[in-house]
Each structure stands twice: as structure tokens, then as C-alpha cells.
């Protein structure tokens, strides 16, 4: 069946379709003006700002993260202060530790930096060290006394038990 007439009204007209068109013609759209109220708001194209906001937020976050990273990195990589040792200055550490019982326990401090000590500094350091040593002795004695009082035994017994055990 040739349906050209049904498709685009070309070719030989189909009488059945023509009759249907005539019958259905009263139902066809009758032009009527569109009644638009005056207060109807005029629509305007709203720009979608979401992508721009997303990009701005991403850039902001990246900048903040970069700033924080740089800050931590600079704090970690502060270069050591370099100083020179005055050859005439005596070694304070050797002199002081030599006469004490704590010599074995005190580990030599590894210094990464070289420091300069003047005579005044050395004397002051020696005085401070003497005070610290005195305080340590006092504390040690007090600890021993407290230990004796709590255990009620002589220090010799404790020492022997310690040796046996």
C-alpha cells in the first residue's frame, strides 16, 4: 500500500484518509490568543554559577593546603647555627665529669653545632653545674633515707641481698 499521502500529503490521495480528515476537521485547533497576565514575571536566563563556585573552592583549598605545607616544610628545614670554637677554651665537660660517680652514666652530648665559650660563660656554667650536682647529691641522700625508713633494713643487708639475688 502506498502511504505517501498519509506521510506528506503527496502522491495519489487516499479516499479513506481524506474522508477521515474531513470528519475530524471540526476538532482541529481554533486559533485563540494567548492570555498572558501582566504581572507574569518575565523569565530571564539564569546563569548557573555552580561550576564557577566549585572551581573557586577548589583553588582556595589548594592554596590553603599549599600554604600549610610550605609552612611546615620551612619549620623543619631551619639550617643549624654555625659557630666556631675558640681553641683556648678548655673542655668544661671533661673537667667536671671526671670527678663524679655519674661519669659512666652521663653520655657525652653530641653537638651538631660548635659553640663559643668565653671565660665568664665557663665560670658561670661551672657554678651552675656545681649547684646541680649538689642538688642531685641531696636528692640521692634523701631517697636513700626514705628507702631505709620504708623497708626498715640496714643498707648493708640490702646491699648483700642485692648481691646474692
Amino acid at each position: 500500500m502506498n502511504d505517501d499521502y498519509l506521510w506528506d500529503k503527496s502522491g495519489e490521495p487516499d479516499p479513506e484518509i481524506q474522508e477521515l480528515e474531513q470528519i475530524l476537521a471540526p476538532l482541529r485547533y481554533q486559533p485563540t490568543p494567548l492570555e498572558m497576565p501582566n504581572e507574569l514575571p518575565v523569565t530571564r536566563r539564569r546563569r548557573n554559577y555552580f561550576p564557577l563556585l566549585a572551581i573557586a573552592a577548589t583553588v582556595l583549598i589548594a592554596l590553603l593546603a599549599g600554604g600549610l605545607w610550605l609552612r611546615f616544610r620551612t619549620e623543619e628545614s631551619i639550617p643549624p647555627v654555625e659557630a666556631t670554637i675558640v681553641p683556648s677554651a678548655p673542655s668544661v665537660k671533661e673537667e667536671v665529669v671526671h670527678n663524679t660517680d655519674l661519669r659512666k652514666k652521663v653520655k657525652p652530648v653530641r653537638r651538631h653545632t660548635k659553640q663559643v665559650f668565653t671565660n665568664y660563660d665557663r665560670e658561670e656554667a661551672l657554678a651552675a653545674k656545681e649547684q646541680v650536682m649538689l642538688a642531685l647529691r641531696l636528692v640521692s641522700e634523701k631517697l636513700k633515707l626514705a628507702q631505709r625508713r620504708t623497708q626498715g633494713a640496714s643498707p648493708n643487708q640490702i646491699k648483700n641481698q642485692h648481691k646474692v639475688g
Binding site: 484518509i17 475530524l24 476538532l27 494567548l34 507574569l40 530571564r44
Partner: protein, 195 residues
């Protein structure tokens, strides 16, 4: 073999492509009118209404009672005017408003109770109008795709290429819908009493 098939396809498709070509200018007119309406030109939207009211009328006529169609056409265009800023592609105004019309028809049936449509026979008016209503009822019993295309063709007087261009369907789909819908309608008409 493949070459022969390809040639046959080209030959089959060429008339459809040519038929759809005249609609291209009209489509660009739509884009201009949509832009004008978005800029606040109410006359521009009025021209879009003139162009597309028959399409919307046909889509509604295939789905809702005849008495409701005119009011719904107005409502749909007012709704479209308010929501025109959501239309991304101005060239696609036709498919867009066709979809609004279909959705509105679905809403209409969801919100209203099923009613019996009063035909003009009760008032004793002319018989040709009642015959038209009777055939329209038969068309409404067809599947969705067929009845919409048939109403646009037989009632609104649009050609197949026009239907394709305005609704956004492919010309091949419209042609198939017209052919199969007409075949079913003929069967129904012959089954009842014939023309």
C-alpha cells in the same frame, strides 16, 4: 553486499532527509523567538504560541477530554513562559513543550476522577461533530505513540515531516507510527461499522 545495503539505505533515507530540510529554517526561527522571549519580548513568545499551539492541542486531544483541551493549552504555554529559562537548547523548544503537554495530560488523569465525556449527541447537535468525536474515541484506544501521531496528522493536518520536526522524533519513527496506527484504525473502523 555491504555496498549494496549501504546504497539502499542512502536511497531510502534521502527522501526523509530532504523532507525534513525545510524545517531547518523554522527551527532557527524558534531559537530567535526563544531568545527574544527570554529577553522579555512577549510578542516573541506569542509567535512561539502561534507556531506550537496546534502541536500541543493535538497532543492533549489524544489524551484528555475535548472540553479540557483549550484551557490546558493556555496553562501549558503560561507554564512554559515561566520556565523558559530552564530550556537549555532553544532549538529544542518543540520537543520540550511536547513533553510538558504529555506530562500535563498524565497529571490531569491523576488528579481528576474518571468521568464520562458528554458527547454532542445528548444535545442533539449536528451528526458530523458527533461522528468526529466517535472516531476520536477510537483513536484514543490506540497505543500512545500511534494516537498522538494520528491526531496530529488527521486532526491538526500536519504532515509527517512536520510532526517529526516539531516533536523531535525521527522521521522514520513517525512514518512507522503513522502507518501502523492507520492500519489499526482501519481495522477498528471496519470492525465497528466502516466509514
Amino acid at each position: 553486499m555491504y555496498e549494496l545495503d549501504a546504497t539502499a539505505d542512502v536511497l531510502l533515507m534521502r527522501p526523509q532527509a530532504n523532507a525534513a530540510r525545510p524545517q531547518k529554517d523554522e527551527t532557527s526561527v524558534e531559537a530567535v523567538l526563544v531568545s527574544a522571549a527570554l529577553a522579555g519580548d512577549r510578542d516573541g513568545f506569542g509567535r512561539l504560541y502561534d507556531l506550537y499551539a496546534p502541536l500541543v492541542h493535538g497532543i492533549l486531544l489524544a489524551r484528555v477530554p475535548r472540553d479540557e483541551v483549550d484551557d490546558l493549552v493556555q496553562d501549558i504555554f503560561l507554564h512554559a513562559f515561566r520556565k523558559l529559562n530552564t530550556l537549555r537548547d532553544p532549538e529544542a523548544f518543540g520537543p520540550w513543550i511536547a513533553m510538558i503537554a504529555r506530562n500535563r495530560a498524565v497529571d490531569f488523569h491523576r488528579r481528576t476522577r474518571p468521568t464520562v465525556e458528554m458527547t454532542d449527541d445528548l444535545g442533539g447537535s449536528n451528526t458530523s461533530d458527533s461522528r468526529a468525536t466517535e472516531i476520536l474515541e477510537l483513536i484514543r484506544t490506540l497505543p500512545d505513540a500511534y494516537r498522538e501521531t494520528l491526531v496530529l496528522r488527521l486532526v491538526e493536518g500536519m504532515t509527517g515531516p512536520e510532526i517529526a520536526a516539531r516533536t523531535g522524533l525521527t522521521p522514520a519513527s513517525v512514518r512507522v507510527n503513522l502507518h501502523r496506527g492507520m492500519k489499526l484504525l482501519r481495522q477498528k473502523l471496519g470492525f465497528t461499522e466502516g466509514l
